[in-house]
């Protein structure tokens, strides 16, 4: 809470009431005749044409899925096809006024939106620009089969390119817009302003907000449209995205030209069903989805319902709403009413709706209706419209034939290039700045920053020359290492922003950001709502558009709150885009202790399990700064674990202390923190210090010299140094604060056993936390691994230690008993 905002009890305790403005519903009432002044014949015909193209494209897919052929061309498409037959007017109306620099995000049912936005962009781009786009996409790989033997105009060629690229993508062809790695539910093409569509319902609900944030913060042209379904309004992350998008601070705290709302339209493609669930009358209570806007901010998000069966009504709404966004009064919520004739998917028997209902909507089919209106108003003849249809059938037939032709549209050759997908999991392209050349906005030179000045007086190594530790307050701590790396990047990369709970003013719950508030304007460092899904989801959208971002979710335990974002979105988009998109997101996650079962968990295994994420967990100031520098220099998503036990720990290992200048520590390299010859202890995170304690005891009591290795990274991880150590010692304990079952320690134990079986004198032994809830601080020693436990485990499982009396039970029968009970 910023101090400038005073909460006056007199004020807030006053009696009163909240009033709402009426929300318009289907207010558009103009006829074609009325609109003749605003649309030329070409414009009207283009609207008709675009709807027909979408209808035919979807009809073709429907026939392929249900009959195995279209227009006598047989094909078997085993993948998904969520069709929007019936929704064409909504899609075309949405895209008609959008510029190329306006971005749309979509859902699993977005073929229509891709085509509508693509056709709109093609209409606006010059021939030269179009050729440039087509030639440069994957070095012309998608374009090559399209342009072969083609004689028509560049615009016609571009339309074919759009049809082919989308279809080849749906059919998983290497020539598709995303090399066939996205498919039907994720296809997109950024040069036409089509951003990722999302197979998770409501997935775009927070990602699109991040894209709008990117446009605002980096002063980029254009608006962002989130096409999400009426049923997705029930999803938590969508609601979180809406709360993020409507934060007061945009208007009340952001300064100068940054003051004002996000350039964002939440466009509810309201086809009135979520799969088979009827959102009005059955699964939701809003009756009219536009009502939601009234609950979010005083502007009610300028919400209204528009008749999505009339393309002109939708276009009219977009023209009006764009004005609101220009005045920085966004975001806007549109409830575009529509209906799909097709089922949720081709396997849907429509058992949840009556035949009469579908027929009633088909009777008001927007394409037939709009065509009739055009003929009646004398805009076009029936013959002209029929010609549009005939040409479209030819176009779609051509597109189908070309995209299923294995010679020109092959699948990825996974036999010849078995690592093709592996090579796309990470972009691995380090960059100082995501927008070189632009000056970062800061409040003062770095050296004037109070925290930077304060750090000058800290001891960058924990011990003096006699080996005596400096006082805690004098020591340069782990949080200082993180701060130095982050502040450095803020002065290098103008796109870098950071946000999360209590990031500004407070300086982060663990004081890593103390000093940043002074250095940065509001739009580069701000407090988010307490909604982890929106914190991570918006960061994903921000990065997709080309920005670098550090979202922070305070406690590791809150990862679950951002489950879909961390597990389904963040890791997937680089590879699913065929490497078109980069994802420079460093998600800071702090592992707690002392605060019980929901604030003390080490969940490193969860992100490490998901392909596409890099995972690190430094335990020293030197490693924290070096790894954070590497994370921020990279373009891949990093889950950056920190531990609340050791934010204040000084540097005890790196000779000369933590360097003042910039340096990187490569991901994946474990570090030997203490050399030894009799036993290896591999530790993850803050457990390092308990491992060292165990090593001391082993030396003092049993004359055994332990080598202590700090894993530092989990993904990637180089096992070679550990194997080298094992060649010496033959014995291994792996320890960390995660509950042992299913932990990354177990993963390491299993991998090392495979890699170095002949070096092992005993099985690698995992010493993790008990498989319980984390108890109160007073009982934590019975839960988290302790130095004693490590020694007991060695005695019991690796080599009996002379005279050792065990305190904890690491015997085989006990292990079996606990597993039998699931504890």
């Amino acid at each position: 809470m910023p101090k400038v905002q005073f909460i006056d009890p007199q004020d807030v305790r006053k009696a009163g009431e909240v009033s709402f403005q009426p929300i318009p519903v289907n207010q558009y009432s103009k006829s074609i005749e009325d609109e003749k002044a605003n649309f030329s014949k070409e414009d009207f015909l283009r609207i008709y044409h675009d709807m027909v193209v979408i209808r035919e494209f979807e009809t073709m897919l429907n026939e392929i899925k249900t009959k195995g052929e279209y227009n006598s061309v047989p094909y078997n498409h085993p993948g998904p096809a969520h069709l929007s037959i019936g929704q064409e007017a909504a899609a075309v109306g949405m895209a008609y006024t959008l510029g190329v620099e306006d971005f749309i995000f979509g859902s699993h049912r977005s073929h229509g939106e891709i085509l509508a936005k693509g056709l709109s962009a093609i209409h606006q781009l010059t021939d030269e620009q179009l050729i440039d786009v087509m030639e440069n996409h994957f070095d012309g790989k998608t374009f090559a089969p399209v342009k072969a033997n083609f004689q028509g105009t560049t615009k016609e060629l571009a339309v074919r390119f759009l049809i082919y690229g989308t279809l080849a993508e749906i059919f998983a062809r290497e020539t598709g817009f995303n090399r066939g790695l996205g498919g039907s539910m994720h296809a997109f093409f950024t040069p036409f302003g089509v951003y990722p569509n999302n197979a998770i319902v409501g997935g775009s609900g927070d990602i699109a907000v991040g894209a709008a944030l990117f446009k605002k913060v980096n002063r980029k042209e254009g608006i962002v449209v989130a096409n999400i379904g009426d049923a997705s309004m029930a999803c938590g992350p969508v609601w979180e995205g809406l709360t993020f998008a409507t934060m007061d601070q945009f208007n009340q705290l952001w300064e100068g030209d940054m003051k004002g709302g996000l350039p964002l339209i939440i466009n509810i493609m309201n086809n009135q069903y979520g799969m088979g669930g009827q959102t009005c009358g059955e699964t939701m209570g809003y009756k009219v989805a536009a009502r939601i806007g009234a609950g979010l901010n005083a502007d009610q998000m300028h919400a209204e319902r528009v008749d999505g069966y009339n393309p002109l009504a939708v276009i009219d709404a977009y023209k009006r709403k764009r004005e609101i966004l220009k005045e920085k009064r966004g975001p806007v919520l549109l409830d575009v009413l529509t209906y799909r004739f097709s089922g949720h998917s081709p396997s849907d028997a429509s058992s949840y709706r009556s035949k009469e209902e579908v027929e009633a909507w088909q009777a008001v089919d927007s394409i037939i209706w709009f065509g009739n209106e055009l003929v009646e108003a004398g805009v076009a003849t029936a013959d002209e419209l029929d010609a549009v249809k005939a040409n479209t059938t030819d176009l779609i037939t051509w597109g189908l034939k070309l995209s299923i032709d294995d010679t020109v549209s092959p699948l990825m050759d996974m036999e010849k290039y078995p690592e093709l997908i592996g090579e796309m999991m990470f972009s691995d392209s380090p960059a100082d700045s995501m927008e070189p050349g632009r000056e970062p906005e800061v409040n003062h030179p770095m050296e004037e920053n109070p925290r930077v000045k304060q750090l000058k007086n800290k001891e960058r190594f924990a011990f003096d020359k006699d080996g005596k530790p400096f006082s805690k307050i004098k020591q340069y701590g782990l949080r200082d290492g993180l701060f130095e790396a982050i502040v450095d990047r803020f002065y290098k990369d103008p796109t870098l922003i950071a946000y999360g709970e209590e990031n500004r003013d407070w300086g982060g719950a663990f004081a890593v950001y103390r000093g940043l508030t002074e250095a940065l304007p509001y739009h580069r460092l701000f407090n988010s709502p307490i909604s982890e899904a929106s914190i991570v989801g918006t960061a994903i959208g921000y990065a997709m558009c080309g920005g670098r971002v550090i979202p922070e979710i305070m406690y590791c335990d809150f990862l679950g709150r951002a489950g879909d974002e961390v597990f389904n979105q963040l890791p997937k988009w680089q590879a699913m885009s065929g490497n078109v998109i980069k994802m420079p997101v460093v998600l800071r996650v702090s592992v707690g202790s002392k605060y019980g079962a929901q604030h003390s968990q080490d969940w490193t295994a969860l992100p490490a399990h998901i392909p596409g994420l890099k995972v690190v967990f430094p335990a020293t100031p030197y490693d924290a700064k070096g790894l954070m520098n590497t994370a921020l220099q990279g373009t891949d998503p990093v889950i950056f674990f920190e531990s609340q036990r050791i934010y204040d720990i000084g540097e005890q290992f790196h000779e000369g202390g933590v360097p003042e200048g910039y340096y990187e520590i490569p991901f994946g390299e474990p570090d030997v923190k203490r050399a030894g010859k009799d036993l290896t202890i591999l530790s993850i995170g803050a457990t390092l210090y308990r491992a060292l304690e165990a090593a001391d005891q082993l030396q003092e009591k049993y004359g055994m010299s332990a080598e202590v290795i700090d894993a530092r990274s989990l993904v990637p991880f180089n096992y070679e140094p550990v194997i080298e150590s094992l060649k010496k010692t033959g014995r291994l304990v792996i320890t960390g604060d995660a509950t042992a079952r299913g932990s990354f320690m177990k993963e390491m134990a299993s991998t090392i056993t495979e890699l170095a079986f002949d070096e092992l004198d005993a099985p690698p032994v995992v010493v993790g936390s008990r498989n319980w809830i984390t108890p109160a601080y007073e009982l934590e020693d019975a839960f988290f691994p302790q130095a004693d436990w490590i020694i007991d485990a060695i005695h019991e499982k690796i080599v009996p230690l002379k005279g050792h009396v065990v305190k904890s039970n690491f015997t085989t029968p006990e292990q079996i008993r606990r597993n039998k009970l699931g504890i």
């Binding site: 033959g730 009996p800 005279g803 050792h804």
Partner: protein, 441 residues
């Protein structure tokens, strides 16, 4: 680019081959087609040619090593290229690796008291040993079966092997090798440098013979024969009937064939053995129950006669099969028998033909060596084998009370009583006798 040379696969059943001789040494320049090395399968030997030009960069196996087929044995390429990626993954020669460990079920109580590393007198049941300790024991030549384990649950761990190696007299490298190969231990008195036990100090445990012998490892083929013969006697109910046949007719035929051969009228040298085999085939056609394999709860009755012939070679006994021998004329049979016998002696016979399953009945002829009677061992799963013995003159009633000495050929039929009864076997043997005595060609 460097390319690996693999141990080729000879026949579906061959799993390993033994390297005979390396014709090229590491560092030699090799042309495609040059012979690289010779190798032998269970029963045949081959030579491997280089497939490409290049320098022989590395050789992973020594002469005499047994190598699984399809494993890299060498690398060809340009000088300086890396060969490590081709090195078979820590692959030991099969002999060493084959001594698989079994994990014992014994429950032991962990000992918190450190025990001195002692060599217990006798190996006690199965041995628990860590992978590291096992590798170490092999390297140091420590017979770990006798080491007391100090690890959890009595597991032998690295420190035990280190201790045992200390406790044992140190061995010279040669002695280590010999000790490992022959299961010997050093004597108390040593003569090697620095008090090490030299090879000559190694003793076996037999106090009578001392070391008055040389231990020679069995060749692969010897091992196989040993196994097959032992199994045959263990797994069947064998007994042998003896009978003799009047050999006058067959000797007359042999004389006339020989004359024709010398006169150049025929090209095939038809031997007595060929004729006996021919007679056996005719008998088998009348007794299909003998032309069989006994496989426990059922029998394979062959429609054709696949005749196995025991051939003595330098490498050992081989029994190649002549497929569909009942389709052959005496000339054809003679020619084929001569061909496979020659291939066996040269070592280039098709290994598939040497499998016991390939033949339906076997003939073993020791007549040339003067053997008068013997009990041949059945080549399982065949049900019988005929031993052919030497021809000796025996008195015979020539009619009208006149006795004369007639050349008689001994026949020894071993059969599996599980498959055949004595009556059947006797009638079959009698049929052979009659076929021989009345042979017309």
């Amino acid at each position: 680019m460097a390319i690996p040379v693999i141990m080729p696969r000879q026949g579906q059943s061959v799993e390993t081959c033994i390297i005979g001789e390396w014709y090229k040494q590491v560092g030699d320049q090799v042309k495609a087609g040059d012979l690289l090395f010779s190798y032998e399968t269970d029963k045949a030997s081959f030579e491997e040619e280089a497939k490409e030009d290049g320098e022989l960069l590395a050789v992973f196996f020594e002469e005499g090593d047994e190598v699984p087929v399809l494993i890299n044995v060498a690398v060809l390429g340009q000088r300086g290229e890396s060969v490590d990626e081709f090195r078979p993954g820590g692959e030991q020669p099969v002999d060493a690796a084959a001594e698989a460990e079994t994990v014992p079920e014994v429950e032991a109580i962990p000992d918190t008291e450190e025990k001195p590393v002692v060599l217990s007198g006798q190996p006690e049941g199965n041995v628990k040993i860590s992978p590291r300790a096992k590798v170490m024991a092999e390297k140091l030549g420590v017979p770990y079966g006798k080491v007391q384990g100090s690890g959890p649950y009595g597991r032998i761990i690295a420190q035990d092997i280190a201790g045992a190696a200390e406790a044992l007299p140190k061995l010279t490298p040669l002695a280590q090798e010999k000790a490992k190969a022959e299961g010997l231990t050093p004597a108390a008195e040593t003569t090697g440098l620095g008090g090490r036990a030299a090879a000559e100090n190694l003793i076996s445990y037999n106090p009578v013979y001392g070391d008055d012998f040389e231990v020679k490892k069995l060749t692969n083929i010897r091992k196989l024969i040993a196994k097959a013969m032992h199994q045959s006697l263990q797994n069947s109910a064998q007994l042998t009937h003896h009978m003799s046949a009047d050999a006058r007719q067959i000797m007359a035929l042999r004389k006339s064939f020989k004359k024709k051969l010398e006169a150049g009228e025929v090209s095939q040298n038809i031997t007595i053995n060929d004729m006996v085999c021919f007679a056996v085939i005719q008998a088998l056609k009348k007794f299909p129950q003998v032309n069989t394999h006994f496989i426990g709860d059922s029998m394979r009755w062959f429609k054709k006669v696949h005749l196995g012939l025991a051939v003595d070679t330098e490498r050992g006994l081989m029994v190649p099969a002549i497929k569909n021998a009942d389709d052959l004329s005496i000339e054809g049979l003679s020619s084929q028998l001569a061909t496979v016998a020659g291939q066996c002696r040269k070592g280039n016979v098709d290994p598939e033909l040497l499998k016991p399953e390939a033949a339906s009945f076997t003939v073993s002829n020791l007549g040339n060596y003067g053997v008068e009677m013997f009990t041949p061992v059945i080549n399982l799963p065949q049900t019988a084998i005929l031993g052919v013995c030497t021809i000796v003159p025996r008195p015979k009633d020539l009619g009208d009370g006149v006795y004369g000495f007639v050349p008689m050929m001994g026949l020894s039929l071993t059969y599996d009583h599980q498959a055949l009864d004595g009556g059947e076997a006797t009638l079959f043997l009698k049929e052979i006798k009659e076929q021989i005595e009345n042979l017309t060609l």
